[in-house]
Symmetry: D2
Subunit: 386 residues, 4 copies
């Protein structure tokens, strides 16, 4: 199986990121199994055709059921809004298609579990789009932890801070509507922090959270206008039905403890997906706004020169970097998707499940749901309750 | 009242910091009411005399009751271990002495309230030693918030991270024993974060926390050995009875929300007393390891040059700084105490209560106790319950 | 002219960077005139075919003269080693091909001038590859200066620091041989700093420099092995004939003054292409290792909040960024080339010379040659002398 | 000799810094020989008495000759304006007084040499006030270099950037008048960089420089008003006779090379006394605005975790720090003077010359003069010429 024929549902932000990854892969990782950009799928024919031409897909489909029905498609890439994930994924699995789904996997844990079951029963491969794992600096963090160089982990503090809806006049886009987005800052941003914590620290044991919606009403957008959402509003206002910010405490199965925060009201933070982990032998820090860097501290460095090292994770010694440019020549956000797709293709090459897969999507959803429940019931919620 | 005659109980870490402040004040703030270093008090006569000579106190007393009884003392400065605060403060107040007490005010909220009552009934002045308020960068934060330049506050995230007991062989010093210290990381470090949050954000409404003791037994120290505690242990071990780390979530009366963390297990952080506050119009960041700096973000800066400013708070425009050195010439930890003592002296000059005073000590203790209770009972605890 | 058919000479580091830019352009800047990847050219047929397939060129040519002779080629992209630039460029110009040439334009000022003359006489478009101009943060610097927001410029201090040949056993690759590379750190790295200084500050008036070769002999490489050059050496050694480091002082025509340093011996600096500019109204700082950021200081900010702002130049307000990802989602090294090619295509669209062009290549070469002469003759050399 | 009786000439900026050091020494370094603050000397009796009282000197003298004549004085501390250094120092030496003189030692190399000769002939101790050597982070840099942990030094780049006279309306204070100050940015700021380079890298071999005065005329101050110099001007203007900025290149006797820059026109830099040194095994970086930190890079760190470490030089492992506060509790500008005076007192204790002494003052002056000459004659000047 040297080529994987992809049908992609969705063509906005994530659709663009995935398309770029498919295009970049053969150039930078030429030895990889190749994704073939077979078909792109969306509802608006005109916008779809524009995206098809721009992104370089062979064909277009306006009905995802048609897409799934095609026998020249091996893999369905789902990056439509979150409320559409479940139906597409299950139908695709039943049609024997492999699955690559954006996070959060679903609007609820029950849905996510159904999706996992469907994928497992169909015997297809399934991947979930936690792209931040694939920043080389995050891969370095993983390696340091896995190799025991940070020791037993005591702490994680993770934040995902943005500021794009601080303006009360920013319109009520779909990401602010619970029935479509499922969740606000928690599902959109916190889900990434949760996945990184699972990837680096281990499984969550129990959580307690709180959330807040600072701006309770916003102007209705005149039309769906994507993430930037600048421009006209209809004059009317509607209720914001998701959280602007969610905080929670966590205890992990291995005894580590952590604080988590996701917010869209942290002025000055465009995209601060950051964490720090402290272990018995050292510490690591990451901030996505400086994604090529990992700060690392070792407690056993010589006494007079102990301190956080700013490691520029662009050397050949760092994951994926020998495929790109010489040391010191940085990469950007989009490269996390190229690496993600590379890992997906490797799973085909080695005929195994990719990682992270729907199991990880479900585990993340468990934590999200536990946090939600802990907020609703104002009590600690154990993951094992769910 | 141009001179205030001070009797100081305690001569270790805080005793040294306070002594230095008394010595520095007349040189750098010559217009101020002057503290007179009348008497220093401690139990070990030899060590006490050494401290007296080194720090420059006129006389020494080995019994704090004797100290209080002296009529050439106006102010009792209490920086003995926390379990001794209450008795000394109440007796001193009853003797009509003004009070300057290190934090945490007491081992319990009940005790703290008794101390406040005693001070109020005696009609004496009372100050509590939350010295970090007096870093010029923190004063700048206060000013920006008070002037509305950050807008309505939405978030605070505060950490106080240290790493001095990460080594499991570090001995069981008094700060690790509940009966003397009252509390571990929470009371020692978290108390400062709580006070800064009250100073900058406002009153706490409710909290929920968790805590952990990572190293449960430690070698008994051969003798009490101060903060560094290097050197011999007796070979025996004893239980650590305080928290190594405490985390909590908080809701404030004004609607702001926050995360708090205090730990002594964050490798690479010698003394990271740090916070970030996000308001509707901007953000501020502070880290005590770079105490001369405040990072400030304004959401209404021109679109193309928005970003956190690194303000070096050493200009004449910054609190206290015209008394020290030209712009760009930094100050250090000890200066926070000099400013604190200056504020205490100003209260005498203007015949009013200093700030922060025992009321603030009590309010801080309320939060500490609410956090403790929330941990013990695994539930949200409202400050108003206490 | 909606498509430009490109023939590219060279397929190593720069060939890969240019190929990626041609591939990315239609996806991210779909409105642009399109480059067509017609033919790639190199001497080793096997390696060339591998590159052709990997990078996505339609055809391959092993003789650049053949490439130039083809009538389905509009533009010759020259990124062969520096000693080959001149002959290819002049022949291509004479054949009526447009030119896109990597820096440094030539091995000497005389050669560079010949190339410019040839291009001008042929009436073709010509661009030179000073890609760092096209980082959005550098574009922001340009805009701030052009709009007078930094005031009259007094200072520039520019460094280009690398550390890839610090190991004395690193082999004698072509970049260390004067007859091929023309120059060492000065031509390779310093040329970028000089171009940025011209772009941002203005024309150089006079210079004086010094240079050093710290490691005078190195192992001969067993075969040409690219930039990383790891692996086998033949055991023999040969003389390093270029500079490891070059420093110079400069006076600009507008009265600004500056220091410049290019070195490959600055441990810890993988690719620190950095500058700071101070004007009468403010300052700007850039470091390519954090290429998404520009630090900006305005002297007229309010007195209490003056400080360098860390501007993350990823907002829609920043050049090129609306074509990529939402604010806060960073880009990398390769994107500078995509923007560069976009500017080249815009020149075709608007039928004008692109910028920077061979004129800029010549002006840069003048400064390089003046520095070399100032080193050889140990005296200030005026640009007007050359 | 357990006490050193000090007579200090000058009571402005440096007088205050020295006074504070004398006051702090016995408290923080109680084992040291003690300076006794015997007499302060200045011309304006009223201001002098105020300073005497504020700083804590026993007596005051309005004539430095009287001061020198007193037999209860062991050490003359000279921090009067630079043009007064020579006469006072020589007279004091001839009277058998030990000498502690602020930098720059004199207005010319000839004067500096006379001062050294006088001190040597009189057999007195002599120290020069290069206080930045005594920041613990700089001491750490020295130790790392001395122990060979950075390897053979290749590069230094040193800047001393300030911005206090950027405003063209800032008045013509004495530091801007050549006849009093001797030099502008070079002597005031560059002298510190030169001394640090000598301390850390070694002796200078040859230099070439350039300088500029950006604002050629300024308002005359209504009265001498110290460093801040805010407030009234007489309306008249006078010529600025010193350099606003001076840059130079240097070659060192051991083969290292360097760039140097001193300016008072670098907006946003209140006091950036910064340097970076690159050796064959590693690098170090220092910036006085973050004086508690040293950044250190080791080329032999494990491949995947190489990077500059941010060492907070506040541990007991760092010079002087066990005398102050626990790890992580920073110190400030003034502490460099306390350490300097400690070193002076140690010299008395061990009956040897302190370091840096007048020899270092002369060596620094040689470089200053060589730079001046290189500017005047527009050529490289060797130190050995002078």
């Amino acid at each position: 199986m040297s080529n994987i024929r992809v049908g992609m549902v969705g063509y906005k932000f994530m659709g663009k990121a995935h398309s770029n990854a498919y295009r970049a892969l053969p150039m930078f990782f030429p030895a990889s199994v190749k994704p073939v950009m077979k078909a792109i799928c969306g509802r608006d024919p005109e916008a779809l055709e524009a995206a098809r031409a721009q992104f370089g897909w062979e064909t277009a489909e306006t009905d995802w059921k048609q897409l799934i029905a095609r026998d020249d498609i091996d893999l369905i890439d789902i990056n439509a809004p979150s409320d559409a994930h479940k139906n597409i994924a299950i139908a695709a699995a039943e049609a024997g298609k492999h699955l690559f789904c954006e996070k959060p996997l679903a609007l609820s844990l029950a849905d996510a579990r159904e999706m996992l079951d469907a994928a497992e029963q169909a015997g297809v491969k399934h991947m979930v789009g936690f792209n931040y794992r694939f920043a080389p600096a995050v891969q370095l963090a993983k390696k340091l932890i896995a190799d025991g160089r940070i020791g037993k982990i005591h702490h994680i503090r993770a934040v995902f801070l943005q500021d794009w809806i601080m303006d009360p006049e920013f319109p009520l886009v779909w990401r602010l509507q619970k029935e479509i987005a499922g969740s606000g800052s928690l599902g959109d941003l916190g889900a990434h922090s949760i996945d990184l914590a699972r990837f680096l620290v281990g499984e969550f044991a129990e959580v307690i959270g709180m959330s807040e919606t600072f701006v309770k009403e916003r102007p209705l957008p005149s039309a769906m206008t994507g993430l930037s959402a600048k421009g006209g509003s209809s004059g009317e206002r509607g209720p914001v039905t998701v959280d602007d910010a969610t905080l929670f405490l966590a205890k992990f199965a291995n005894g580590a403890i952590g604080t988590f925060e996701a917010t869209r009201f942290a002025g000055g933070h465009r995209c601060t997906n950051a964490f720090e982990i402290n272990g018995s032998k050292g510490s690591i820090k990451f901030d996505f706004e400086r994604m090529n860097e990992l700060e690392v501290y070792f407690a056993d460095d010589a006494e007079d020169v102990q301190g956080f090292r700013r490691v520029l994770a662009t050397d050949a010694a760092h994951a994926y970097m020998d495929a790109w440019w010489p040391a010191g020549h940085t990469i950007g956000y989009e490269h996390t998707f190229t690496h993600e797709v590379l890992e997906l293709m490797k799973a085909f090459e080695e005929d195994r499940q990719p990682s992270p897969n729907f199991h990880d999507g479900v585990k993340c959803q468990e934590v999200l749901e536990a946090v939600d429940q802990s907020i609703a019931e104002r009590r600690w919620v154990s993951i094992s309750e769910l």
